[in-house]
């Protein structure tokens, strides 16, 4: 597997923690949403950065309790067509102002690269043979009709902004707002 960096973020190094394992002092760990909902503050105090492994079946309401404590998030796609993953990323950015890394894992396809970026993802874990196609897909379209979390304003807005050119800055959701 290789990591495709969509936004130029510094990717988080972390340990994927099994449910019965405790974090080491200061260690970056990713754990399931279920576990995060059950853990007390000691867990968060011990670990370094805590990330959630969010399955696409995670109810949006579950994010309420944990979003504020997260350093990063990993959204797992069970199939590339499971579009709930996109809405989960949008929710994190939009409703919680989440600025940390959002990573996509699972069988997402290269042709989704710009969809992932625009929904608020920073990185994608892909099999190495897909790396080239993923990177090619990132520069495929000059602009889109929607303002997005990759820092691009919509064509509709660009049309009426003097001197505006479209294109991804790559850091949209981390800009001061």
């Amino acid at each position: 597997m290789v990591l495709i960096n969509l936004t130029g973020i510094q990717p988080t190094g972390f340990t994927l923690l099994a449910d019965d394992v405790q974090p080491k002092e200061g260690e970056n760990v990713a754990v399931s949403v279920e576990r995060l909902l059950a853990e007390d503050s000691a867990f968060f105090d011990t670990a370094g950065g805590v990330g959630a492994v969010i399955t696409t079946g995670t109810p949006y309401a579950d994010l309420d309790a944990i979003a504020g404590k997260l350093a990063f998030a990993v959204i797992e796609f069970p199939a590339f067509g499971d579009g709930r993953g996109f809405s989960l990323a949008v929710r994190l950015r939009k409703d919680f102002g989440f600025k940390g890394e959002i990573r996509a894992t699972g069988p997402v396809i290269p042709d989704q690269a710009l969809f992932l970026l625009r929904a608020g993802f920073d990185t994608v874990d892909v099999t190495s043979e897909r790396k080239t196609a993923f990177e090619a897909a990132l520069s495929r379209f000059p602009g889109f009709y929607q303002s997005d979390f990759g820092g691009q304003t919509s064509i509709a807005h660009a049309r009426h902004t003097v001197g505006h050119t479209i294109g991804h800055s790559g850091e949209g959701h981390r800009k001061a707002s």
């Binding site: 067509g81 579009g83 996109f86 949008v90 939009k94 396809i109 625009r118 379209f141 064509i155 009426h160």
Partner: protein, 551 residues
Amino acid sequence: MYAYDTYDHAMVNARVAEFRDQVDRRMKGELTEEEFRPLRLMNGLYLQLHAYMLRVAIPYGTLSAGQMRKLAHVARKYDKGYGHFTTRQNIQYNWPKLSETPDILQELSDVEMHAIQTSGNCIRNVTTDQFAGAAADEVADPRPYAELIRQWSTFHPEFSFLPRKFKIAITGAAEDRAAVKWHDIGLVLKQNEAGEVGFEVLAGGGMGRTPVIAKSMREFLPISDMLSYLEAMLRVYNEQGRRDNKYKARIKILVDAMGIDEYRRQVDAEWEKIRHVPIDVPEEEVARIKAFFAPPPLPVLADAATEVDELENANFVFKAWLANNTGAHKVPGHAHVTISLKPHGGIPGDATDEQMDLVADLADAYSQSEIRVSHEQNLILPHVAKSDLPALWSKLDEAGLGTPNAGLLTDIIACPGLDYCSLANTRSIPIAQTITERFDDIKRLMDIGPLKIKISGCINSCGHHHAGHIGILGVDRRGEENYQLLLGGSGAEDASKAAILGPGFNEAGIVDAVEKVVAVYLGEREDDETFLSAYRRLGPDVFKEAVYGTD
């Protein structure tokens, strides 16, 4: 009509280049069929029984004469000299080669057309009233809003992988010619008490194996809130629509399961959070798009034209065509004209390349170079001066396009069925052909009056049988084609679900049954009662008795 700017052109050209690369990778084996299938579907390319099928979008059913000429050219150069206009106001080609599809899409891109999102689990081509911008009875032209939705929904970062396909329809008139209540979302333009124009919003309609009529979400939504409200509706659906069973994945099932009140509550809660984020486009953009749909500069003319009166008195077929295929225009002295693609014995919705070229020429000569496609699979010239009607009709008639049957029993909607479609259980087209041959008498048809027959070759309901005054559904009964008869459906503002009358029939039997049903209506009707009104008054029993006998 909308015209692309450099942004629109760049996007569609990028899409063609992307698809060319995908096809290339597929042909070389770098993509498996499993990986490629969703990609080709997102470009409207299906694999059917005999060949690939390419579905080209005709956004909200509007096209120019130049675009129609390109459609004719594609039919001639890449296909077998014809195309099929669909109930989704699109056109389908039945014989394209995979290797040539990128070239077809490039040619289409040159005239501002594409096949984007004509398939796949995304927001599909927005459909509307075929008389939009022309009909005398409309509150406002729905097409600027359809174009706004087209742009907002194209490659949407969040809503391109929905649980299932998603269809939005808009009408600007109280008489619903766009079947909005049968769509995932229906929008009805209306004026509130303050005289402002906005939308009534409906949700959760759909056909398929579980027919549902849409329910009202909101009596009045200001136009400026349209996109943010749609975004909230789609987000709740994307998150909570079922993904475990594709037959239960449409929004109608979600709305039914949670109830329209709960769905509305969740949508409203989400909408409150996003109303002020810049999803809705700047006012200047709405104005820019609206300007493309400004009414054409038609002169106000006398409503009576002597040329029309003379031919009407001399030629019964013209008189019938005038009565059935033309309608009241906003501008006095003009009419909108329906070109029937339903010749008796013909294939509903098919047009040859020559016919397409002719319609393009006639649009240039008589209709401000504008053409529409209706969900009833006909073509429309929206802006014709009444004094031109005799000349127009005679040219149409010569080319086999003058059938005076719009809105009558032989104006049948039929899906491609098993003659082309890999999902079908039975053929549809031959049933339509036999019915139209059986009723090949314009005087008899006009006596019967408005009667919509809609035929689907499988439960997916592309032929809208649930909404037919008379619906016909083909089913596979132990390897034999069998046809169920349904009565009492409507796709109009008085939408209703057709009900199955009884056991199914074979190919000959279903046509006889239709004839018996019509005979009952003619015997029982009161005054100028239509078929649908008579059925609603009488109920199914009298029809059942006539069709199946008393025992």
